[in-house]
Subunit: 387 residues, 2 copies
């Protein structure tokens, strides 16, 4: 009988995974201070697992493999961790740079790109093995190397990113991953500090820290070069102290409008997507940080910098009016909509909670514990362009 024991032990360990887990309704919640990632289920509103020791997650972001099995977590300290959401475990982990600011996954799901401050540049890894595939130092002159920001994927197996110190946008075509073709757009404006891609991968827009306005690259017409738009955006006059630079990934495209946070002002800007001119401004409760469209684009949700970060406001896209103000709790840092938009998860850093709302009734559905959560990322992102 004693010989049976290993067999029985094996049986039990197999039994633990006998009820298979699907991956379409999973997500990752970042616990900033602990350096943890929680795996959550959005159907059952459950925490499934806690993955520990992911390093400095103070500005973490996450992308997902195309089968939605693996989450790639980009840490502030150059850590890149591949989490297996079916085995509740770290699959692979590397430290790929000294100081890093986010990443992207290629259209085909085979490449992971990371944008680095130190040493400046973009490194590209195999999504399967995390082995280095390409290294693109952000050199822009004799002994000059730039921080890289605003890295996103683009259709046609490309990555697009911005060089903060150089004032350039680079587009890297990875159809041949061993020999990427890089196209550089110089003189796009002073100090691009972040960027976003339109959800269809058509437009890349970088925010400028060193001057007013934004830099716009039309990926359907790269020959036309980068255009300077919204020359009054971020202008110095009448501006309040900026408590937190808004995240450009948070911009929302809804119908013909792009909704964007005004820097340092208590306003959301409404930009006409056809002319790239300012259409309207909407007064809000504080300095907006994330400005996010519900997936059906009828509502836009806004959170705020300190001292207004206990509130969330909802804009009705139909008439650009303020629909409702919610007070979910202390330190609203991030929001993520379920893929079809019926619910939204909100991270409350200073209440150590996640709160889930019904986006139609605006009733609270549930709260879950999380230690200083600062980011929520659902696996449906695997199927989106430009994140």
């Amino acid at each position: 009988m004693i010989k049976l024991l290993p067999l029985i032990a094996l049986l039990f360990s197999l039994n633990a995974i006998a009820e298979p887990r699907a991956t379409g309704d999973l997500g990752i919640v970042i616990e900033r201070e602990d350096g943890n990632a929680l795996i959550i289920n959005t159907t059952e509103h459950k925490r499934l697992a806690k993955i520990e020791k992911l390093g400095d997650l103070s500005h973490a972001s996450v992308v997902f493999s195309r089968d939605q099995r693996y989450a790639y977590v980009f840490g502030r300290d150059g850590g890149l961790t591949k989490i297996d959401m079916l085995k509740d475990a770290i699959d692979k982990r590397i430290i790929q740079a000294g100081n890093s600011i986010g990443g992207a996954i290629s259209q085909d799901g085979k490449l992971i790109a990371v944008s680095n401050y130190t040493p400046g540049g973009v490194k590209v890894f195999s999504a399967e093995t995390l082995e280095l595939v390409a290294d693109i130092p952000s050199d822009y002159g004799e002994g000059l190397r730039s921080k890289v920001v605003g890295l996103v994927d683009a259709p046609g197996q490309r990555f697009v990113f911005s060089l903060f110190d150089a004032g350039e946008i680079w587009m890297a075509d990875f159809k041949n991953p061993k020999a990427p073709v890089i196209k550089k757009f110089p003189n796009i404006g002073k100090q691009p500090y972040d960027a976003l891609m339109s959800p269809d991968g058509h437009y890349y827009i970088a925010g400028l820290f060193g001057e007013p306005g934004l830099a716009l690259l039309d990926l359907w017409n790269t020959e036309a070069g980068v255009k300077h738009i919204l020359p009054d955006y971020g202008k110095d006059d009448e501006k309040l102290p900026v408590y937190k630079m808004p995240h450009l990934e948070g911009w929302a495209v809804a119908g013909d409008y792009v909704f964007a946070p005004a820097i340092g002002q208590h306003k959301v800007l409404v930009i006409d997507k056809n002319t790239w001119e300012l259409h309207d401004t909407i007064a809000v409760a504080g300095q907006p940080v994330f400005v996010m469209a519900r997936p059906d684009a009828r509502h836009v949700w806004v959170n705020f910098a300190f001292p207004d970060n206990h509130q969330v406001q909802i804009i009705d896209v139909k008439d650009l009016s303020l629909h409702k103000t919610l007070s979910p709790g202390k330190g609203v840092l991030h929001m993520e909509f379920t893929p079809r938009g019926e619910q939204v998860w909100v991270a409350l850093r200073d209440d150590n909670q996640l709160v889930v709302y019904d986006t139609d009734t605006l009733q609270e559905i549930t709260r879950l514990p999380a230690n200083k959560p600062n980011g929520i990322f659902f696996s449906s992102r695997a199927h989106k362009i430009g994140l």
Copy 2:
């Protein structure tokens, strides 16, 4: 030793599922004549399983649970089959009507709605158990009952559908599934035969068989009622014999344009989404059936009715020109893009094949056998509105 055998057998059966399967890159291919569904993997271009005995699949469609584990197959014969894509097996199957024409899954994933010809109406089932939740007979007068077509889900836990014989559109609010609230729009035009929802769930458009034009319902402004648009659409003059009525689910929204098949003509219509007027027409190789936008909206792919159904044409949305003509094989019946658009799968009924293309280079990647395939549905549909 003999006592060990059941244990060992159990071990082997558990071992078969020991390597877990993710569900983000799965799909269902319908084999029409055999009444089978193939489970496929779009990353590895593999057939994983064949699920048999699903009844009459001559006009089958498929929706997916929000965790992407289950596929719901709507058969022509009123069959509704729930397939477990992790266990490669039928989870549940019912015959819910005598003659059926497709279905939808509610925004929260909890309800499955089916539109029926005989007896006419919509039946709504629990997505978990397939137990009947609500029955909505399509009565429109003393002893009059209509065929129901064009059933889609809408934001706010609603379903929208059209009554062919009654000339009505109905909108059913299922926030309380036991007591749905139905709003009826009468006199929307003669014989709505199919319908589509814009990808953001904003507009519902029904095609009219009994008169020219289309019926448009703005779901952001239902008080305004249904509008009659494109009064020349489907007009009788200069029309060729119609070999196959185009599918309205196939309409493509790309940028400011909606691309739609002209009925009976060798043309794709380009409709301005802001005015709902005809912007342009594009001459194509035959009578278009499916007109589908690549997920990044740069290209629109078109297939055709007999005798031109060996071809696929690709329209460049940038300048509304014909980009390329492909000849994949005999009987091109359906196409499905991978979620981020890098590849497309094409069903070749008369070649008993599926062919996969790189949508950028237009090179063929692989071919897989399938017996008379007539529909391809990827699990990423779980996260989309209005299918």
